[in-house]
Symmetry: C2
Subunit: 321 residues, 2 copies
């Protein structure tokens, strides 16, 4: 954690546009995840250059979903540019649970592999218990931080400790929140969503960074009122334009984890990507906000490679003992 | 979970005094943990009578702290009355970490033992890593639910699932909240405290029972204001009389996990036990409140034995496969 804070020094350049007044309206700073992730990549490349091993991430894919193919391509590209080896283990749709378990066991035992992720969702012909698979990854190589044991360590306040990893999306969001300049300790954060991958670990990360945290979800009532108390809002509900301008306390920091493709006839592609936040409206009230795309997305990839480099360093430290 | 709900049927008798008006003031219902735990004990005894094995809880103690001796005595007494065997493994202060690990390995392997707890804090001459010890208990026997893996399962929404256990104090609090008659789903709960044993798992339990949950802790600001939004308040900060009457929304349900001994010259013993809530004041505003002693305390013991019986049942179900 501390290392990461030291890792990013050029804070000023990260905020593309400082809070400005346009037509009498104060506009939020736009926190660019693209730029922050670029800086993390540069620092990682520098760190990796000093290591006696090349960090290796194994990416397991079952099937060939289009979205997974794109995500994996981005991960491999980022890794390569950071000097990290990302090996793609693409298994056919016919892969059985037993075969996948065998694959995992081999990678767990391979000391040249420092991080392992299973790209979800799987595309398989036979039934595979995803939860069981996630929990078979050696916790010390679980750089996606999705195993029960890493979640428990986070809940117990071990934030990327000696043998633990925080899921990449909330870990990236935390960095973006820090970039906004808001004082997290003592602030009130509202997290919208309680998923295993984003909402739940995000809430814990904020609690252990000393924020008062409210967890809001699909069964919550009075959501606008609750959000209105927040100094920091993290939206991870998967519903386009969910967070409205009049829900925000003026000056709130808004982090948008949503990414949904909606039809848009004005685009050549026929669609565009939007977040969980009504961005155009909310940027008039927030003090800082992340765009979609180019906000949280690139940070998720950056933190995955950060965790992989971290795993390689921990493995080296262990072998020296 | 569902089983437990079915387990307690005589809801009405549990609330010692219904909300009444005294001298024009409406007084809260007093939720008696003593009575609820008694009912759980009776139901457990009935269930245990039908099992083909006697559930066994192993309690490991290092040293002989006075408070630990009292707690262990209470656990053994409750277990005996519920038809559960509680074996007390009292180790000398001179016990080393290695010896404690050996002891745990033996108990993990002993199929007649269904639940294992290590009574904390340890009183030992040599340094013992408590975290490491807690995590060496077989997760399927970890009836205190304090291991990282059980915490992670809870954070991932597995509430006392096939192989998971929820820590006993928050599990007991949840039962008391249910006894108050409040609708948890959609309500706003504020949890004061983020400890591994009470606050953090309590917040997760409430989230997965569909409450909107705010986690407040030592670094939080505006605590009275935050508490004032709560339909349910769980106090677990370890500070006598911390929660004041004017912090409460009228009609809130108040659960007090605190237990501190303070001097009291009017008592023969010279002291009395008080909670984290200013009980005498708060009962004038709350709709239901737990007393100290006789509230959360007895429930912690009851849920430990509940978890032990549950572990025995799961072990039987597994052996039948």
């Amino acid at each position: 954690m501390t290392r990461l804070i030291n890792l990013i020094t050029q804070t000023n350049s990260i905020i593309r546009r400082s809070s400005t007044s346009i037509g009498g309206k104060t506009m939020a700073k736009i926190i660019s995840g693209k730029e922050v992730s670029g800086q993390i990549q540069a620092k990682l490349r520098e760190e990796v250059g000093k290591l006696s091993v090349k960090p290796q991430l194994a990416i397991i894919q079952v099937g060939s979903r289009d979205d997974s193919n794109v995500y994996i391509k981005n991960k491999i590209k980022f890794a390569e540019e950071a000097g990290v080896l990302a090996t793609h283990h693409k298994l056919p749709k016919s892969t059985t649970q037993e075969q996948l378990i065998d694959k995992l066991h081999n990678l767990n035992q391979d000391s040249s592999v420092h991080g392992i992720i299973v790209q979800l969702p799987l595309e398989s012909d036979s039934p595979i218990n995803t939860d069981q698979i996630t929990n078979l990854i050696d916790p010390e190589k679980d750089v996606d931080g999705l195993s029960d044991i890493n979640a428990g360590k986070l809940m117990h306040g071990q934030v990327n400790g000696m043998n633990s990893y925080v899921p990449c999306t909330p870990f990236g969001c935390l960095e973006l929140i820090k970039q906004s300049g808001v004082q997290i300790a003592g602030s009130h954060a509202v997290v919208l969503g309680r998923s295993k991958i984003v909402g739940s670990p995000m809430a814990q990360l904020l609690v252990w960074n000393n924020a008062t945290v409210t967890i809001v979800h699909s069964r919550s009532k009075n959501i606008p009122e609750t959000v209105r108390n927040a100094d920091i809002v993290v939206a991870a509900v998967g519903q386009p334009f969910f967070v409205k301008k009049d829900w925000l306390k003026p000056g709130a920091v808004v982090i948008d984890c949503g990414i949904t493709s909606i039809p848009d006839s004005t685009r050549k592609s026929g669609y565009r990507l939007v977040g969980d936040v009504d961005y155009d409206q909310c940027k008039e009230v927030a003090s800082a906000i992340t765009p979609v795309p180019g906000g949280v997305g690139p940070m998720t990839v950056a933190m995955l490679i950060y965790n992989t480099v971290d795993a390689a360093k921990k493995s080296l430290a262990k072998s020296r003992k």
